[in-house]
């Protein structure tokens, strides 16, 4: 080291060597940082894809598990409205209760304390299924369906307890007190294409709303696949025979590990036994 006039310092060679070492270390750190960023992005994409597919499988399962069909049953007895390999429309339960009074034709009053609901019924959007004696023949009891025309959420039953009043078409006649009432909404769960990608969407058929994405993007082919099985778990497309629905979700994501390779893909399959297959 050269000492001039009592001042200490570095030679040019020392400075150059230090700079070269610094550059080498910085380069290594930068490379590690870049690969960490790429890895983190890839991990995030994997997590998002898995979460997406898992969520879709859970939502589809929960939507369909409550449905029921009846062997040889008519339209009112089957919750499955239309079936397809990548779309299904069905009656989604929105509430259940019992009438607390006998009123005029088409008028129902349901005690709030005996009404279990996701939300209050909505006229024009929801319908009611009523379990009536003498339906479909005088010797039988069965379910009939009717659209809800009007609703009052501030009425009371005979004992003064809070109640919901529903107005249905008068043609259904007088509904006795104690009648089971199921409130439902026609819904569609389907794969659909938007912005060049496939999505799992849900919409209310009753209200005529446009389909909304709930999960995605899905794989272009067989992103959302439904298969219907009967009591022997053989394939069928007859709604009244269906006892289980198999759902396959195939999600897709960007492959940050290798952009030239195929996109990421994740598949989950689940099987749902319908309510009529459980009891």
């Amino acid at each position: 080291m050269l000492i001039l006039g009592g001042r200490r310092g570095f030679t040019l060679a020392e400075t150059l060597l230090a700079m070269v070492l610094l550059l080498m270390v910085s380069g290594s750190v930068y490379r590690v940082l870049l690969s960490t960023v790429r890895l983190t992005r890839s991990q995030t994409e994997h997590i998002a894809l898995q979460s997406n597919v898992r969520g879709a499988a859970l939502v589809a399962g929960n939507e369909l598990r409550e449905l029921s069909t009846a062997a040889g049953g008519n339209g009112a007895q089957n919750d499955l409205l239309s079936l397809g390999p990548n779309a299904i429309s069905y009656r989604a339960m929105r509430g259940f209760g019992y009438t607390c009074q006998t009123l005029g034709p088409g008028l129902l009053r349901i005690s709030r304390s005996a009404f279990f609901a996701y939300r209050d019924p909505q006229p024009g959007r929801d319908s009611a299924l009523l379990y009536l004696s003498g339906m479909p023949t005088p010797a039988d009891s069965g379910w009939i369906t009717a659209g809800i025309i009007a609703l009052s959420s501030s009425s009371t039953c005979g004992g003064g307890e809070p109640a919901i009043s529903l107005t249905l078409p008068a043609g259904i006649g007088t509904v006795p007190g104690g009648t089971p009432v199921r409130i439902y909404e026609a819904m569609e769960l389907a794969a659909y294409q938007a912005d060049g990608q496939w999505w799992l969407g849900l919409r209310s058929l009753s209200s005529g709303e446009a389909i909304q994405p709930i999960f995605g993007p899905l794989a272009t082919t067989e992103g959302f696949r439904l298969a219907y099985g009967d009591a022997a778990q053989m394939a069928t497309v007859v709604p009244s025979l269906i006892k289980s629905i198999s759902v396959t979700i195939r999600g897709t994501g960007v492959n940050y590990d290798n952009s030239s390779a195929a996109p990421l893909s994740e598949v989950l399959s689940t099987q749902i036994a319908l309510k009529n297959a459980q009891y």
């Binding site: 890895l39 898995q50 499988a57 778990q233 994740e266 399959s269 689940t270 749902i272 297959a277």
Partner: protein
């Protein structure tokens, strides 16, 4: 020199945590598959139980396995007679630290 050591330790820790996150993501994926597989088996047993009258007399409603499906090993036991049968489904899978199992238990009314 000290700075280089500190830097190296930091970089190694970063790489180590990335590897751990990768393992956790993989584990989460397999756990999800195992849980859905077990749920699927329970649904099949539930359907088998309801397919006969009286209930739970179907030949399909019985203990079984091991069966390999989607690369996972599953076996299940159905409890002895009673109003509610205890059903236990075990799904095993391999991890870097050996075999792990996901177990689903439920009761099926008879």
């Amino acid at each position: 020199m000290l700075a280089l050591i500190v830097l190296s330790v930091g970089i190694l820790a970063l790489s180590g945590s990335s590897a751990m996150v990768n393992r956790m993501i993989g584990r989460g994926r397999v756990e999800t598959h195992a849980a859905l597989l077990a749920a699927r088996r329970v649904e099949r047993l539930r359907m088998a139980a309801a397919s006969t009258s009286p209930r739970c007399t179907s030949a399909s409603f019985t203990s079984g396995g091991p069966v390999w499906e989607d690369g996972l090993r599953q076996s299940w036991t159905v409890g002895p007679a009673g109003p509610v049968r205890k059903v236990r489904v075990s799904v095993s899978y391999l991890t870097i630290r050996g075999t792990r199992s996901a177990v689903l238990e439920t009761g099926i009314p008879c």
